[in-house]
Symmetry: C2
Subunit: 443 residues, 2 copies
């Protein structure tokens, strides 16, 4: 069976067997396949999809194409959170130390920003010295000691996924649900998890803006987890406007530290608590979400979560004084300019994609994986949809590296923020909860 | 605009502009595009198609990516024939010298066999010394002197097409009608034609087995030709069973010479005359198909067509004695075995794909462009669907290089030839004629 046969079969809507997926991922990891055939197969999958058995087989093939972060000797639950990516989404930075402080291990593997969404690794690396490229051995030892490590996907973890993922971005095949699900789960199962919480962003700024697609992604992930004794719970959460106030890199670290200090924007704190409660229950550290929430609130109020973050920063080579004086440690933007309301009215929309692209235009994001980013630039958007505002009122701060960068940022906010006359209907922060038991409509 | 943007736009059913196609083909010919992005675009085109303007722009971009065989100084008409490919289809070998002998120039660019279909270049090269790799200058001089040259696509002609075509075969994107039409026309217009006759094979052994697809291909080609003052006439011809008796390479040359000597199998002679008549009319060498047919029959009966073939063979380095004693000049198979009817009855089917794959299994075809072929092997199938046969009657000869090759050939014929009880309905040799004036139902 040649790769051409597989392409043609998938193109015509046929089924690829588990054995064929195993051979495919093995050859892919070994660099033995022609890229142009792999990308043609990806596009055929984009149009034809994968059935459940194919998705499982592809995911398992990618998982077994590399090494794993073996944590099975730990007695505590091992739970990670994965977000499909949004703008201003710095939840991971708060959640990982917070949940670890409550007794569940969080071996967190994150990605970099691309396109309009930011990435946890980029944000962490705005802390001077912070090293996200730990060896698997060092990461395992840190999880054992501190309950948490914050790392990127090494070349050893699911190398077949790494090759596919790199190609998908360049070939317009990112937005294929079975490929998304198999890619995420191959990496997450390589962390030897006992549970996974999935934050599926919905709305204008989401990667999958359609509700049906979000539910389908959740169901696919739950199915993949079930076959590997890794229960998955998904929350569908609002990405119609950026999460929190800070959008960028260094400024998001600062906002995360404020939240770990029991402050921070309400929506950010609330989403962190909702996701964290699911993690504690999955990790058997709490019998119910209500109890879990109490534990989490306690760890924020007591400073335990912040202390855990400080220890993680120090363990990974970062400057722990970032916890005490973020503005003194983190890179600061040379230019700060206010953005004011152009008229009286009600804030109707803060379009996250436009905000995200504005950060890229200012130098704080990337269009290709090779670009370097400036961690100091971004926005602080202090208004929210539904707010009544007066003309001239400051609604945001543009944080830029120079006048041109500030102008690009201003243009993005001009396009992103819409002010109208009557208040928009409120959108719930968490709209659905999906688990093996089914879909609950919330909010 | 990046290639990724084009891929995503086509994937989502959008339109790519003429300027974007021009840049794409220019960069493709220069080797400046990532193969894996090109193949993803091809697969998106497979699913989404191209509209008329896109097909024209792609075709023109490929045409202008290289040099042309400039024959515009000739006063005679310049007409070529293109077949979508079948089994036993040696029409080009007869038609080119025959039409040239009747006063129309035939600058014929042909391809090699791949998969279950044979290729004119492979057949010609079974004549010792025959060189199909002429320079454009030498080919032009030969067309001027003999009215015909039989060549392959050089690296200079439509290099963008050459790259796309090579990739399409490996990526399951061959069977996309706009890509087929643009590919054929970019090469044919590079011959500076004043007319083109298209032989669209229909039926079980055809590349596009569905009638709708055949008509769509014809209409697309006619549309592309019309924009470049190159009228196109398409005949839809039967490929439910192999054409003529010989299927292979050297044996097809022998059968072509027999036909040029005014003999040969009836179906092969008839199809050659039908296509040739269209070529003479398009080339303004005859006022009607009936007059053209008389001219063609005369050139076969007088020996003028055979003499023209002899001159072409000699001009391209081949041994012209092949015209006098084909069996003494052409490579002969070491093993010849009869294939006999397994029962009394009527021949229902001779499945061309199975026959074609049998030739490949015997060593006379190729699965990848790198393989070498043995020109001596193949079949002579002397029966036709509808023939009443007796058990033990010889219906075919297997021509093989050794016992194993013969066994492979026998297995193929066992599978390809079906004998039943009642005669199948007769199938017309030419079912439709399509031109700028519309579709005529024939037969």
């Amino acid at each position: 069976m040649t790769l051409r046969d597989l392409i043609e079969r998938k193109r015509d809507g046929g089924h690829i067997t588990a054995e064929e997926w195993r051979d495919f991922t093995r050859d892919l990891a070994a660099g033995a396949l022609a890229d142009y055939q792999v990308s043609a197969l990806l596009m055929a999958i984009y149009f034809r999809g994968l059935d459940d058995d194919e998705t499982v087989a592809l995911m398992e093939g990618m998982l077994h194409s590399g090494r794993t972060l073996d944590l099975r000797h730990l007695t505590v639950g091992r739970v990670d959170k994965h977000s499909t990516g949004g703008v201003g989404d710095k939840v991971s930075l708060i959640l990982a130390p917070l949940v670890a402080a409550c007794g569940v291990a969080v071996p967190m593997m994150s990605g970099r920003g691309l396109g309009h969404t930011g990435g946890t690794l980029d944000k962490l690396e705005s802390i001077p010295g912070f090293d996200t490229r730990l060896t698997l051995e060092r990461a395992a030892a840190q999880v054992e000691r501190l309950g948490c490590a914050l790392i990127g996907q090494t070349g050893e973890i699911a190398p077949a996924d790494k090759r596919l993922y790199a190609m998908r971005d360049a070939t317009g095949t990112v937005e294929a649900i079975p490929l998304i699900a198999a890619s995420i789960m191959s990496k997450k199962l390589a962390e030897s998890l006992t549970g996974l919480v999935l934050d599926v962003k919905t709305g204008a700024g989401a990667f999958l803006p359609e509700l049906d697609d979000s539910l389908r992604l959740a169901a696919t992930m739950i199915g993949l987890g079930a076959r590997h004794d890794c229960p998955v719970v998904a929350l569908l959460t609002n990405m119609d406007s950026p999460l929190g106030e800070a959008c960028g890199n260094a400024n998001e670290v600062e906002e995360s530290i404020a939240t770990l200090k029991n402050g921070g924007p309400t929506d950010l704190r609330e989403l962190t608590l909702r996701l964290g409660a699911e993690m504690l229950v999955l990790g058997r550290a709490a019998p119910s979400a209500a109890v879990a929430r109490g534990l989490l609130e306690g760890a924020l109020a007591s400073g335990a979560a912040l202390e855990r973050f400080r220890e993680i920063v120090a363990a990974q080579g970062g400057d722990p004084r970032v916890c005490d004086a973020p503005a003194a440690v983190l890179p600061q933007p040379p230019v700060r300019e206010p953005w004011t309301a152009p008229r009286d009215g009600v804030v109707l929309r803060i379009e996250p994609r436009t905000v995200g692209r504005g950060i890229t235009a200012m130098g704080g994001g990337r269009s290709t994986m090779e670009e370097r980013i400036d961690p100091s630039v971004g926005f602080r958007i202090t208004t929210r949809p539904g707010d009544r505002v007066k003309r001239g009122e400051v609604l945001a701060t543009i944080e830029a590296r120079d006048a041109a960068s500030a102008a690009a940022g201003r243009a993005a906010l001009d396009a992103a923020i819409t002010i109208g006359d009557s208040a928009p209907p409120p959108i719930p922060l968490v709209s659905h909860r999906v688990s093996a038991s089914g879909v609950e409509l919330l909010g």
